[in-house]
């Protein structure tokens, strides 16, 4: 490592320890790191927005190519600044309305496609049979039906319906447990990576 890198990594190692110190309790070091990155991250993303979005999407079309259509979104964007005024803040609802209209309009078909159609198709695409895969498929189908019943809102969960709903929440909980267990290894790997980083820095500082 060069001296420059050593200093850079020294800062990185210091910030790493600042964040770890939070595990013991809130303290000035954590607070410092927290407030520092809030500023750095905002500055970073604002500049990213400026160079990779504002310049090609607003400045170039309007100022260089004179595509007047872009005046509309620009006005909608500037309208958001009325939020700084108490009296005129309501005007920003126009831009928000556009934003929400686009979002909810896209969501209707997208949700039905990715969540409803794809899951439905995946559930019914495989046949039930007497081998391992076929029996698993039967179990999946039963489990999906039971879990779906758990989410019924307008029917009391009583009698046979209640039994199915109970089976449904059991399936969901086993599924969640499995999901939790599956994540553990990856999370530990993240910590291992930080430990290896600190170890590497120590070696560079003293051993290398």
């Amino acid at each position: 490592m060069s001296t420059g890198q050593l200093i850079g990594n020294g800062i990185a190692a210091f910030l790493t320890l600042c964040i770890f110190s939070f595990l013991y309790k809130d303290n000035p070091f954590y607070k410092f790191a927290e407030r520092l990155v809030a500023g750095v991250a905002t500055g970073y993303f604002t500049m990213l927005l400026f160079w990779t979005n504002f310049i090609p999407k607003v400045w170039e079309p309007l100022y260089e190519r004179h595509e007047i259509i872009y005046i509309i979104p620009t006005i909608l964007g500037i309208i958001m600044w009325t939020r700084f005024s108490k009296k005129w803040a309501w005007v920003s609802r126009y831009s928000i309305a556009f934003y929400i209209g686009i979002g909810s309009g896209v969501a209707v078909t997208l949700a039905l496609y990715t969540y409803l159609f794809k899951q439905l198709q995946a559930t019914i695409a495989f046949p039930i049979s007497m081998d391992v895969a076929g029996i698993n498929q039967l179990l999946v189908v039963v489990a999906v039906l039971a879990s779906l019943i758990y989410f019924f809102f307008s029917t009391p969960h009583k009698g046979a319906f209640g039994v199915a709903s109970k089976l449904g929440i059991y399936v969901i909980m086993i599924g969640f447990g499995a999901g939790f267990g599956l994540t553990v290894m990856g999370r530990i790997a993240l910590l291992v990576n930080r430990v290896i980083f600190l170890k590497g820095y120590l070696i560079a500082l003293f051993g290398g």
């Binding site: 800062i11 990185a12 910030l15 964040i19 939070f22 595990l23 407030r35 520092l36 990155v37 809030a38 500023g39 750095v40 905002t42 500055g43 970073y44 990779t52 979005n53 872009y70 979104p73 909608l76 964007g77 958001m80 600044w81 609802r93 126009y94 309305a97 556009f98 929400i100 209209g101 686009i102 909810s104 309009g105 078909t109 949700a111 039905l112 990715t114 969540y115 899951q119 439905l120 179990l139 999946v140 489990a143 879990s147 989410f151 929440i169 399936v171 969901i172 909980m173 086993i174 599924g175 969640f176 447990g177 939790f180 553990v184 290894m185 999370r187 993240l190 910590l191 990576n193 980083f197």
Partner: protein, 215 residues
């Protein structure tokens, strides 16, 4: 003006976005692309509102010398420092990238790695066999965890193969986990469609503030 126009805007653009999904024609594809672009442009300008909020919170702390005002100073200096470096040198500038690499990314990575500690303490507290539901959660999580590391094989190596932990773990991931995922997704799909429809039709209007601008 304060309520009806925004509701009309939501209705028109919401309906357009639903309709365009079924129309591949270039004209519709063009406007779909443009409108998506416009939301990004609105987002760019709104960033100023965000920064305004950030500055006003920290400025008042510094001005009135509230407790911890020094930390607020750190935020503001970091924000302007990063912005000036990015403005002068661009996002590919050497200093900008170094500040990102040594100032921001170690904190991000370390915050992320705190999960290793939290996942352990959460497991310690939550995985108690209080009732059927928490027992199932506990058992499934433990089996899958054991199935992923050699401990599982050492513990269950004497069992027939289909009863060994890695195999039970795979079964749990392939059957209950998949089934729960599908059922929840199907419900989410219907829920999203329903809420979106209510928004487009102007029935759900909390986003206009409070009780949906009833006043």
């Amino acid at each position: 003006m304060r309520r009806e126009v925004p509701l009309l805007i939501v209705f028109l653009f919401g309906l357009f976005m639903i309709v365009q999904y079924f129309i591949p024609h270039a004209k519709f594809a063009f406007w779909y692309q443009e409108f998506n672009n416009w939301t990004i442009i609105i987002g760019i300008f709104t960033m100023i509102v965000g920064i305004g909020s950030l500055l006003s919170v920290h400025y008042s702390k510094i001005r009135f010398r509230q407790e911890g005002w020094g930390y607020s100073l750190v935020t503001i200096v970091a924000l302007f420092g990063m912005a000036i470096v990015g403005l002068l040198g661009g996002t590919e500038g050497d200093l900008f990238l170094k500040l990102y690499r040594f100032g921001l990314s170690p904190v991000t990575a370390t915050m992320f790695s705190l999960l290793a500690f939290f996942i352990a303490s959460a497991a310690y507290r939550a995985f108690r066999a209080r009732n059927v539901i928490s027992t199932l959660l506990l058992a499934a999580a433990v089996v899958v965890m054991l199935g992923r590391v050699p401990i599982g094989e050492i513990l269950g190596g004497w069992l027939p193969r289909w009863l060994q932990l890695p195999n039970i773990a795979d079964f749990l991931l392939n059957v209950p986990n998949v089934a729960a995922k599908r059922a929840i997704y199907i419900g989410v799909g219907l829920g999203v469609a329903a809420v979106s429809l209510k928004i487009i039709l102007g029935i759900e209007r909390t986003w206009l503030g409070g009780d949906g601008g009833k006043r």
